[in-house]
Each structure stands twice: as C-alpha cells, then as structure tokens.
C-alpha cells in the first residue's frame, strides 16, 4: 500500500497502490492536505492500481473533496475498477465526484 504524488501541469496526481482502507487513509489525507497547504488546487486520484476501498477510505475521499472545494479547488477520480464503480453507483457516491475512465480524459476535463 503506497501513494505516489506527482505534478502534471497544474494538476496534482495521486496514485493509490493496493487498498485505501482504515489503516492508510490518514496517510493519503495528510499527503493531499500538505499539497493543498502549498497552494495546489486541482487534484486527481488515480485508482488504476487500487483493488479495494473500504468505508473509511470513502469517508476520506469525501472529506478531502469538501476541504479542497472550500479552498476553491476540485478533486476528481479516475480509473475505478468494476467493483469500485459499482460501489460508487450503489451508494450514490458517483453523484459527489467527477469520475473518468482514463487519466488522460480526467486531466483534460479540468
């Protein structure tokens, strides 16, 4: 489980490897908040290498999205696998995020 943060243009891209769960959600949150503190506004979390997100992980995504919006920024998601996509649809979380099927499309959409 690890997070990689890199900048692509004006957008901070976070790759989540493995799972986003109760054990590592704070790490993701802190990394994103650190970037927000530095003045970054646009964030993309790429789940290409993510197998599972538990309810705590979902909570962190919503919390981060709120905090970024409060600073006038935006958090978008990309590359959810089929299970995660179903989860987002079944829980109506898809109404809270702009979700793209590829990183390129997500980057272009900002």
């Amino acid at each position: 489980m690890s997070f990689t943060i890199r900048k692509q243009g004006e957008i901070v891209v976070v790759d989540v490897e493995g799972q986003l769960i109760v054990g590592n959600r704070q790490e993701l949150k802190q990394k994103v908040l650190d970037e927000l503190e530095k003045g970054e506004k646009r964030f993309l979390i790429d789940f290409t290498q993510t197998g599972y997100i538990d309810s705590s992980g979902l909570g962190v995504l919503v919390s981060l999205s709120k905090k970024i919006r409060e600073q006038g920024g935006e958090l978008r998601l990309a590359n959810l696998n089929d299970d995660l996509k179903t989860l987002f649809e079944l829980t109506k979380l898809d109404t809270l995020f702009q979700i793209s099927d590829s990183r390129e499309r997500a980057l272009e959409s900002f």
Binding site: D54, S55, L58, V62, D83, L87, L90, T91, L93, T95
Partner: protein, 527 residues
C-alpha cells in the same frame, strides 16, 4: 591476630618483658594494635620515627623497632619486670616473627574488609531485586532503592530521575537529602551533568563546578556520580533516566567499585521500569478487553428484539460484529396498527467510534420515527441530530429506512448510500431498492424517498450490510450479494428465521476459518 597475641604472651611469660605492636594511620597518632597487657606500655607520642632504638622511660628501658613492609608500625619491648633491661638479642629474634605474623594478619583483615564490602554490595543488589520484584509501580520502590543505595555508597544526597517523553524532561521519582522543591531537568540542558549522561548514555563523575544547570542544583553538592538508566533489548538500547549520587559522607572521591555498583543498580532499575510498563500495558489491555466485552453487551442490548413486533410482522435480524463493538445496526418501529418501520445502517469504520455513532443514530431515530411518518422527513431530522458528530469524526452512515403500510399495501423508503436492500415479490422476482442519496453525513441536502407496492405476508424485505457481500474466503473470493439472494430465494417459503440461518450457513461454508473483516448484519421481514 590471635596467633601473634599468643606468641607475645608466651614471650612475656618466658622473659617477663611485655611486647606490644603499634600502628598509625597517615594522619592519626599511633594506637596500640596488639598488647598482652596494656598497663605497662609506652605513651604513643613518645614512639620514635627511627628504625630501631632504645628509650629510657620512667618505668625502665624500652626497645623500639620499626616493622618492615608496613607503613607505620612498631614493636616495643619493655619495660621488663624487676627493672631488668630488655635484651636486644631477644628483640632481634622476635622482630621477624612479629613482622611476618603482623603482615599476614593485616592482609587477612584487609581481605575480610573487602569481602565485607562486596557482601554489602551483593546484599544491596539482592535487596533491590527483591524490592523491584515485589512491586509493579517503580515510583513506590524508588525511594526504598535510593535509601539502600545511598547508604551503601555513603552519599547524603541522591535522586532517581526518569525521562518524560512528551515534555522531554528528566523528572524526579525519588530523592533523598534534597530540602528544596524537586526540579525537572530538560534533556537538552547543556549545563546539566544528568542531562549529558542521559544523552550520551555514559556514566560520569563530575565536580560541583561542572554542573552549571539551575535545574540540577538541588541534586548536586560536591562531587556527583551520575549513571544512565538504560533498557537494553535485542533490538537496541533505550535511555530511560539517570541515577544521581552526591555529597559523600567521607568526602572521598567515588571509587571504581562505587561506579560499578551504581551502574548495576541503574541497570536493574531500567529492567524494572520496562517490566512495570509492560505490566501496565498488559493490565490496560485486559481492562480494555473487559470494557469492550461490556460495550458489546450494551450494543447488542440496544438492538430491538425481532419478536417485539411479532403481532405486526415476521422479522429475523442478526448483527455479527467484526470486533467486540461495531458500526452495523438495525432498528424496528411500530408506527401504527398498520405501519411498521425498519432500518438497517452501517457506520463507516468499526470499533468504539463507530459504535458510539451507531448508538447516537439509533437513539435519535427512535425519536424521529415516531414524529415523521415519511422516511425522507425522518432521515432529514435524523441527519439534523447527528450531522455535527459525523462532521467532527469524519464518519458517515449508509442507511436504509423503510415504512411498510399494510393498509395501503406500499413500502415507502429512503436510502442514503445503503447498497444492499431488496424486495422479493410473490412472483420470486427480486427488486433492488437503490440508494437515492449518498450516505448520511456526506451531503447536507435532505434525503429523497420512493415508494413501491407491498404484498402483505408475501413480499419479503431483504436487507444486509457489505460485511456479508464483501466477505472474502482464504482464496480472496468475494461472497457477493448474489449468493445471499440465491439462499433467500431458495428458502423463501420457510419462516424468516430459517432463511436467515440458511444465509449465514452458506456464508460460513464459503468463508471457512477466515476471520471477519467487517460487521455482518442481515434483516428479513414479512409484514
């Protein structure tokens, strides 16, 4: 020296001349070490410093001879009875005998004194082991240890200081000989010998001038010995504090033996501290486990008995928490003769915090369900009650709330992010009751509601949490919601309790011995 005494007595008897041995310390005048009778001997201050000579005293002539191989010791012979002169020849014969026996005797005394000293040290270490072994709290034992240690080493002033991580200070757990208020020493205090010893983990002996710290002043006077308290394990060593001794009773410097002894005691204190911390942690763990068991009982008691609504509906409901306490719950409400309310919820995460949110949600729901017959209004009111708590804890609740009205043959429901809610109709068709809003606490907007037909005593409401559908076996395969629905469909004509058991049986078979990752809740209802 008994043997020498016997020799001198025999000599006196044979020659009628008394013989005595005198010994003087560096700064002290000579004192009588051995004499057969003390009534007829020289006054010490008359002893010459010369090797050998003759003196005429008031009582007669005395021969004195310096003993060789000893720092300041003399043999005196005379004055003899009857005013006879002591024979120099006798003195020459006796001197080597006395010399040899005196040396042997003093060596034995010295060895005995050393052994006595070692015995005291061993005895101290044993006593300290006993004190530390008897007690769990080091603070209680610290004073006793300090008294024993300072008595053995001969220090009037002593203290045990332990490291407090949050404040990065060395604070006194015990002190003796300190009249002023005990002070704490910051570990980065460059003027403090104790702080330096803690940082370097090396024992130090320092003059009063070396300690310039105002925090340390109360603990040091004259020379100070400070030894680190270290706990060493296979993974490395950890400094825990410092033992300080100062103001020696003899005014003598601390010896190598003192250093070894204090270092040994400090090591024992280190082990005791770590043991005490482990025991405390274990006790805390036990207490926590007991509290968790109690919390589990309380949580299970919050859940209503399915039989409490048996006049209106057939209900089977079960929560299996992954930990002692969890975030899954269900609730049942009798709203009127014709209306039954049913709720299933899953608070994000599990453990204590989730259980507290669950309890808060359940108690608020009990009030709002009686006031608001419309599910969306009820969940809006519920959100108003728990919004702040959810926001501060960054938690949320996926919640389904349905009201079955048998008279109107309809099911009204609101669903905030709960993925697994179904109605199995009389035709065997299974309809999902999809989430209409994200989980409660994620958005501020009031939840929506929907309605569908309900066939009294035929329709079966099936609600479960993702702890069941997301459960994985040892191979990593998901149980999935279809397996739940297949079991429900297969046994749909059975009583709800039987259907429930069949679902859990199927789940158990699938999982084998894989431990639970999440709470598992299933509610089945016919009304």
């Amino acid at each position: 020296m008994k043997d020498l005494h016997a020799v001198l007595a025999a000599f006196q008897e044979a020659t009628q001349c008394p013989v005595a041995v005198w010994v003087a310390d560096d700064k002290m005048p000579p004192t009588l070490a051995i004499a057969v009778s003390s009534g007829n001997v020289l006054s010490p201050d008359t002893l010459p410093e010369t090797e050998q000579g003759a003196l005429l005293t008031n009582n007669g002539q005395v021969i004195t001879a310096r003993l060789s191989g000893l720092k300041r010791a003399w043999m005196t012979m005379g004055p003899c009875e009857g005013g006879r002169r002591p024979l120099e020849r006798n003195a020459e014969l006796l001197l080597p005998v006395v010399n040899r026996m005196m040396r042997t005797g003093l060596e034995m005394e010295h060895t005995a004194a050393e052994l006595a000293g070692r015995y005291e040290e061993i005895s101290l270490l044993y006593t300290i082991s006993e004190i530390l072994g008897r007690t769990v709290a080091l603070e209680e034992a610290a004073k006793t240890i300090l008294v024993e240690l300072s008595q053995t080493v001969g220090s009037r002033r002593a203290a045990i200081l332990l490291y407090d991580k949050p404040t990065t200070m060395l604070y006194a757990v015990a002190a003796i000989g300190v009249e002023a208020q005990l002070t704490s020493i910051p570990i980065n205090d460059m003027g403090s010998v104790a702080a330096r010893v803690f940082r370097t983990r090396h024992l130090a002996i320092a003059d009063a001038s070396e300690s310039t710290s105002e925090h340390e002043a109360v603990y040091s006077r004259d020379t100070m010995l400070a030894a680190p308290i270290i706990w060493t394990s296979s993974t490395g060593s950890l400094p825990l504090g410092v033992v300080i001794l100062s103001e020696r009773e003899t005014g003598q410097p601390f010896s190598a033996g003192d250093q070894k002894l204090v270092a040994a005691v400090a090591t024992q204190i280190g082990i005791a501290i770590q043991n005490s911390r482990l025991v405390r942690a274990s006790m805390d763990q036990q207490r926590l486990q007991q509290e968790m068991l109690l919390a589990h009982d309380l949580q299970m008691k919050l859940l209503p008995q399915p039989g409490s609504l048996s006049a209106d509906a057939e209900i089977a409901a079960r929560v299996v928490p992954a930990e002692s306490v969890g975030g899954d719950f269900y609730h049942l409400f009798r709203l009127s003769n014709a209306a039954t309310g049913v709720m299933i919820g899953d608070v994000s995460g599990h453990g204590y915090r989730a259980a507290l949110i669950m309890a808060l949600t359940m108690s608020a729901a009990s009030i709002h369900a009686q006031i608001h017959s419309d599910p969306s209004a009820m969940l809006a009111a519920l959100l108003g009650s728990v919004r702040e708590e959810l926001a501060t804890t960054e938690m949320f609740v996926s919640l389904f709330y349905g009201v079955i009205n048998r008279k109107k043959s309809c099911l009204n429901y609101a669903n905030t992010g709960h993925p697994h809610a179904f109605v199995l109709g009389p035709d065997g068709k299974c309809d999902r009751l999809p989430a209409l809003d994200p989980p409660l606490g994620m958005v501020d907007a009031p939840p929506h509601a929907a309605s569908l037909p309900w066939h009294s005593r035929e329709s079966l409401l099936v609600l479960f949490t993702d702890g069941i559908s997301d459960a994985r076996n040892a191979k990593g395969d998901r149980f999935g919601e279809q397996r739940v629905l297949d079991a429900v469909k297969k046994y749909r004509s059975e009583p709800v309790e039987v259907i429930q058991e069949k679902v859990f049986e199927s789940l158990r078979r699938f999982l084998g011995r894989t431990p639970l990752r999440d709470d598992q809740t299933l509610v089945l209802l016919r009304a």
